[in-house]
């Protein structure tokens, strides 16, 4: 009856067994998968920052026109572009074909005649982000306009409409009361003042400061102008630029650059003039980088140099910070809207993309046939529009993370306004014009510094304690001592950090001499107590079993601590004039933070002591007894046996313990976060703080924008930590496994 049943049930049992086998195997391999997933996911997020820029042609179209184009531009969503021509007309047209919206590339949306009866003599453009354009006319007047785009979402479809905004009104601003034609023009706006600077054909340089005021009655904005003439000007003027904060005016004349301080219009002064051309070359163009702290100078041999103002011994001065070599004569430099990138254009349609901070050439190639007359970068730097006569080309630009290069992360970089190249971590800022400083060196240094002081504190104590516990202590006592020390490993680091920051740091600050004295007094005290112990009557001495010395020493250490801290104020008066902190800072010139490396070293030391102790103790304890017994039988003292036999044998295990401890110290977050001021400084001073990779991630990650360079760099920091600890742990584990095999052979 049941043979079939049994068979089938056997079958199902077998199937179940198989399923269990595969299930468990799969489950086991999931651990490996988890580790690999972490590794590859981190890598996946980090990878894009090392990609270089790419440019692809997206659309080409023609816009027939008679007049000469003066400037072109693209709106933020890269749907609409505009051009200004010398018939004082602004024209708007689509640059992308979108059938759902009935848009074709090149289709004109609007053509606006800005002004009649005025002959254009010059044209100017403000910083890219301000989007101001100014016409200069032959009758000495100027008109400032700005393209205006309004986005609306009828039926959930984005619709952008274009218009012109007459910034200072529809009537031109009178620049030259004598009515001479304007030959050069510059325009810039800051808050409610707008500056126009013009050179006239009779060689005068005029600054017109326009300030706006809202009429309370009508709500209209009224502009009042105030014209100042600058004396003793260079000739001929080839280019004029204004800094975006309206503090400086840059006038290029041939190879010579004149820098005027125009903060106070009643006292305009020439603060610097210098030759800015590269060796054996002449200057072709000048441009200001976004933020307007840097001047970029292009040369006809392809050299582009960056100049910015730094504090020198002779006061603030513009100096040349770095050079890029494009190898083609640079005809135009087009800065990006918000980043420190710029595009260069050469005569044969060669376009270069550079990022100043990271000193990187991201792209340098010919992007189309023939030549390019005008070029414009989209506000989000994701597109490039070029124009030659009637034909337009729109290019897609992939350049998400220009700020990150190997050099920017790990080498000294000369940042704008810094007196010299330096390692700086300063990731966030108040405004768009800020130059992000992404050097990982200071925070890596901080990590190493924190780990170093922690190990300095932890390794001696942990190893000594491990040696004593494993080798000298009685087994009964070992059974309580070992778990007690190991329980410290379970203490949350947030508690250690909190104690370090709120309790230990003020205690150390107030009792610094006591702390130093404790470090010196304790070893002396222990040795003295031990020596005195040898004179105690044998009866008492023998009543203590081997290995109870540690218990005996507890009161000794406590007494040492008490004496040190009780004497601390006295010591402070004797040696440090009653105020150690002031003494350190004033007399020795050592900076002192309340939350410093000493505090971190002690707190993090305590966190790694149990790790090191536990592994080292295991290694020493499992040294085969016959080795030490043999040594003792041959007449060696216990100490000799320990140092020459036991420790040598266990040394790989001890090494592995230290590596594990180091791995933990490097990655520890909360203690460092809470026990230091988290300032990214580079200084070995034990009385100053640091910022570590891990604390940096914890502080900045919640605020970083997903997918931004900053976000990816924080992932890179995590990746670096991962690799660090992976190496330490893997090496330690290998060593430990080898040791275990060796012992089992013995």
């Amino acid at each position: 009856m049941s043979s079939e049943l049994t068979l089938s049930s056997n079958k199902s049992r077998k199937i179940k067994d198989k399923i269990a086998r595969y299930g468990v195997t799969l489950g086991g391999l999931l651990v490996l998968a988890a580790l690999l997933l972490i590794f590859f996911y981190l890598l996946y997020v980090v990878a894009p920052i090392f990609r270089s820029a790419e440019i692809h042609n997206q659309t080409s179209f023609n816009i027939p026109h008679q007049a000469q184009t003066l400037a072109i531009g693209v709106e933020e969503q890269v749907e609409i572009a505009y051009l200004f021509d010398d018939s004082s007309t602004a024209r708007f047209f689509y640059v992308q074909t979108d059938n759902t919206k009935n848009q074709t590339a090149g289709q004109e949306i609007a053509s606006i005649k800005l002004l009649d009866d005025h002959r254009v003599s010059t044209f100017a453009q403000s910083m890219a982000a301000r989007k101001l354009y100014a016409y200069g006319f032959e009758n000495g007047s100027a008109l400032v306009v700005s393209p205006k785009f309004t986005t609306s979402f009828p039926n959930n479809i984005r619709h952008i409409s274009a218009d012109i905004n007459y910034v200072t009104g529809q009537t031109p601003v009178e620049m030259d009361t004598q009515g001479h034609a304007l030959t050069q023009l510059a325009v810039e706006k800051n808050m409610d003042s707008l500056y126009l600077v013009a050179a006239t054909d009779d060689n005068r340089l005029l600054i017109n400061s326009l300030s706006s005021e809202e009429n309370f009655m009508t709500g209209e904005i009224e502009w009042s102008s105030d014209i100042t003439e600058i004396e003793a000007i260079p000739h001929p003027i080839s280019q004029i630029r204004l800094s975006s904060n309206l503090a400086y005016m840059f006038v290029l004349s041939g190879n010579h650059l004149f820098i005027y301080n125009i903060r106070d219009l009643t006292d305009i002064s020439l603060i610097q003039d210098m030759d800015v051309n590269a060796d054996d070359a002449s200057v072709t163009t000048m441009s200001l980088l976004s933020g307007a702290s840097s001047i970029m100078i292009g040369n006809d041999n392809g050299i582009i140099s960056q100049w910015f103002e730094i504090r020198t011994e002779a006061g603030r001065q513009f100096v040349k910070a770095r050079e890029f070599d494009n190898q083609h004569s640079v005809s135009q430099i087009v800065p990006e809207f918000y980043r420190k990138s710029f595009f260069t254009l050469s005569n044969d349609a060669t376009v270069g993309i550079y990022f100043t901070t990271s000193d990187a050439e991201l792209f340098n190639d010919r992007i189309q046939q023939g030549s390019i007359e005008h070029m414009s970068v989209a506000p989000r730097s994701n597109a490039l529009l070029t124009q030659t006569d009637d034909s337009f080309h729109l290019f897609k630009v992939d350049n998400e993370h220009p700020e990150v290069t190997w050099k920017a992360l790990w080498q000294k970089v000369w940042y704008e306004g810094y007196p010299e190249p330096d390692y700086v971590w300063q990731s966030t800022s108040a405004d768009d014009e800020f130059e992000s400083k992404f050097s990982l060196v200071p925070i890596s240094f901080g990590t190493i510094k924190a780990a170093f002081y922690a190990m300095l504190f932890a390794v001696p104590i942990a190893l000594a304690a491990a040696i004593y516990t494993a080798y000298f202590m009685s087994p009964g006592m070992r059974q309580t001592v070992k778990p007690t020390i190991e329980i410290m490993e379970a203490l949350p680091t947030v508690i250690l950090g909190f104690l370090a920051g709120l309790w230990l740091a003020p205690v150390i600050e107030n009792n610094l001499p006591g702390v130093l004295m404790f470090l010196l007094l304790t070893p002396v005290g222990i040795v003295t107590a031990a020596y005195v112990w040898t004179f105690t009557p044998e009866k008492i001495r023998l009543s203590f079993r081997d290995g109870w010395d540690a218990v005996l020493l507890i009161p000794v250490v406590l007494v040492c601590a008490y004496i040190s801290f009780a004497l601390s104020p006295e010591l402070e008066i004797w040696f440090f004039d009653g105020d150690t902190r002031a003494f350190l800072t004033n007399e020795l010139g050592i900076g002192f933070d309340q939350r410093n490396s000493l505090v971190v070293g002690i707190a993090m030391g305590f966190a790694v002591i149990p790790t090191i102790f536990s592994i080292a103790e295991d290694a020493i304890f499992s040294v085969p007894k016959q080795l030490s017994n043999g040594s003792l039988a041959l007449g060696a003292t216990p100490w000799q046996t320990l140092t020459r036999v036991v420790l040598l044998t266990a040394s790989p295990g001890i090494f592995s313990a230290v590596m594990m401890g180091l791995g933990r110290a490097v990655g520890e977050t909360m203690i460092v976060l809470m026990a230091t001021g988290n300032t990214p400084i580079m200084d070995w001073n034990i009385f100053e703080g640091m910022r570590t990779l891990s604390a940096n991630i914890a502080v900045e990650m919640p605020e970083s924008e997903v997918g931004s360079s900053h976000y990816r760099i924080l992932f890179l920091a995590a990746f670096v930590l991962f690799i660090f600890t992976f190496l330490f742990n893997t090496v330690a584990e290998f060593v430990r496994q080898r040791l275990r095999e060796k012992y089992s052979d013995l």
Partner: protein, 549 residues
Amino acid sequence: MNNWFKSGSPWIWMTAGAVSISLIAVLGLLLMIAWRGLVYFWPSSIYQFDVLQANGESQTLIGEIYDTESIPARRLSDQGIDLRGHKGEFISRELIKTGNREYVDLDFRWVLESDIVSRSQPAGLAMFERSKNGNFYGYITEVLQQGEPVSGDKTEQLHQLIERANDLNEQAIDLQNDEIGSINYQLEQLRLKRRSLEINDKLTDAAIASLDAQKEQLQAQYQILEKALFAIRDKTERDAVVVTDMRGEKITLPLNQVLDVTQPNDMNIAEKIWHFLRQIGKFVSQDPREANTEGGVFPAIFGTVFMVMLMAVIVTPFGVIAAIYLHEYAQKGPVTKMLRIAVINLAGVPSIVYGVFGLGFFVYILGGSIDELFYPEALPGPTFGTPGVLWSAITLAILTLPVVIVSTEEGLSRIPMSLRQGSLALGATKAETLWRIVIPMASPAIMTGLILAVARAAGEVAPLMLVGVVKSAPMLPLDGNFPFFHLDRKFMHLGFHIYDVGFQSPNVEAARPLVFATAFLLVAVIVGLNITAIGIRNHLREKFRSLEN
């Protein structure tokens, strides 16, 4: 002496010293946290001081002594403090907590010992615990019931009136959190439902009418409840107490702001112990007040426990299966070796890296996809695409996986081979042997691993800061609204509470005792869990040792 040095025994003593230092550090640390944590709950005496002022007049100060120190006089004069002709190199001073925050510039002040003319602990001095502005110290002068002074035992009456006000306050809070909270939740659900219909093009007129009707009904209910709430609030404003403060001025404190009143100077030891226990009870059961710097830590305890339990549910099966694979199935080979290295590395990777991984992978990638698939109506507001308790639990599950694996494997290795062989010999398959014999025997080891994992997770803060913990969560992840478990919500955590209150709060001095109390709570839980785990493990070892012999 020389010989003694040569024998090496000083060095042995030095190593012994290292053990003593470690022991002192561990025990000292635990004792200090316990002491400073528990002192927070003990009713401390209130002193009245007469303090000499700079202008020669004396001023009365009432408050608790918070700290005492003796420091070189030089340091104080360097800080620009007027020592008023104090002689001697040292000077001692006391930090007095005077409370009454809205009437004085500083609720903590240092007073030089030499300036104190007299000090006393007068009976009748009362400490009022308030829901706003911290403690208030003073003498009870008048108890006002409906604006009229009461006759008879003022303290007795005051206690009754405070109890009444507190009951009413509690009613109001319950009403606000439960009934009104539920209506708000339902309204939000209606909004999402409407949006969801809209996305799917199913928003018919009938549907709109039905939704609007429900909405109106809810809003009507809301109006009623709101009226009830205001009625209760009005009632709480009935009574007040008049207190004479240290400036001698009479201050009227409305009783709806007074949580408790104690007169520690009049308490005997039994009353103090009772008060102490009551304070502990309040600490673990109440919500925090005043940006977490006062009140209890109940939501943090709840959040920690909830997250840790969720994590335990996730980590146990994976950890146990991985351990079984490693110990029972895996053959010696490169894969197994790599697996062991992976386990060691998972244990060694810094916890913040898990946080970064959890934020990027779980929150943004997994959570983002879940939102797109299942919660499109709530977009662009994220549901699971934002840090929350589920992601925290999963992240910590990966972090604690090695703990469970190592502990379970150790348990498996202690089970004698003969038991397995016996089972197999009787015809059981390997799976059956595992299920019926090995796993039941290893269950205490699995338990140990789980407890250790829970202890580790309960103390971990750094990764949680990225994947779900917040300073203050308005709603618990578990409540009476369907589906009861809200795994997408953010939560509070004891460890983060310590970091936040100790380092981010505006008045660290005032918050410090509370941080110690929280720290003590956390340490007690974690050390307790660890000792339990060690106990189970030792018990297990003994059991199998006897089995082997």
